[in-house]
């Protein structure tokens, strides 16, 4: 598979995984596809180099931040001194 095609597919699955309102089952499937296309096998050479694909980290970080540190936490007040 050409590197450009691989990079575009990875980008497509990355954007799909960050879509709102999609079932978690589908997101998991797309992330699996992404890692399968992107990941290396053992000591094999890289399929994509950093100069071939650069994904924006901010959307993923925002999603993870909302998931990891929800604003309305039930026991949040217990941490306030």
């Amino acid at each position: 598979m050409p590197v450009s095609t691989r990079a575009k597919l990875v980008r497509l699955f990355y954007e799909l995984a960050l879509l709102p309102g999609v079932e978690p089952r589908l997101i998991r499937s797309w992330v699996d596809d992404l890692s399968r296309i992107l990941a290396n096998k053992g000591d094999a050479p890289r399929k994509i180099d950093p100069e071939d694909l650069q994904l924006p980290w901010k959307p993923l970080w925002r999603a993870l931040r909302k998931e990891l540190w929800p604003k309305k936490r039930a026991y949040e007040s217990s941490y306030v001194s």
Binding site: M1, P2, V3, S4, T5, A7, K8, L9, R11, L12, F13, E15, L16, L18, L19, P20, G21, V22, E23, P24, R25, L26, R28, S29, W30, D33, R36, I37, K41, E51, D52, L53, Q54, L55, P56, P59, R62, A63, K66, E67
Partner: protein, 188 residues
Amino acid sequence: MPLHRSGEGVRVHRSTLTKGRVYILEPNKYGRGVSASAAAHQEDMDVNSNLIPDFFSSLGFSLGRLDKMDDDDFSGLETPPEIDSPSAAQGQMEKQLESLKSYLDALPYECETPEEMETKLEFIIGKIDVCVRSKNWSLLPNWSHLLHWYVPPTIHYATHLGLNSSQLAVAEISNARLHTSQARASVL
């Protein structure tokens, strides 16, 4: 069914022994494993999906954004920079094609040429494009899973099962047949 009498007087089905050996290499076992995990994924669907729009509201993403999305145009994000030395990239590609050709020549069965595989890949990506544009999320995994052709899982499974090289070759043939049947089933 022919029976085999062993030295200790225990009757053993010869076919049972054969089945036991095939059992390890049977690729359908992998398929069953996958469907079992898929059944496990079904349980994840119980998660309340109504929370997701609120969850992603601040992300700046919307379903309409996919309308602008194309395999050739990802203008929403920064495009990957061009490779500085095209000759080096071309030489690397030729080297990969050469190693692929020697690998294909060594296989005990006939394979498609890289050009034919390229055509099939374009067909699959075209279907993925149609599914994404029409937001048909239920049909999209069927086509995206076909991309696994390019990353055959044989090596991982064989290493995990401790198979030797000859067993690996048999498993690879079975895997290729499985992929072909899956592709036919998907196309039909």
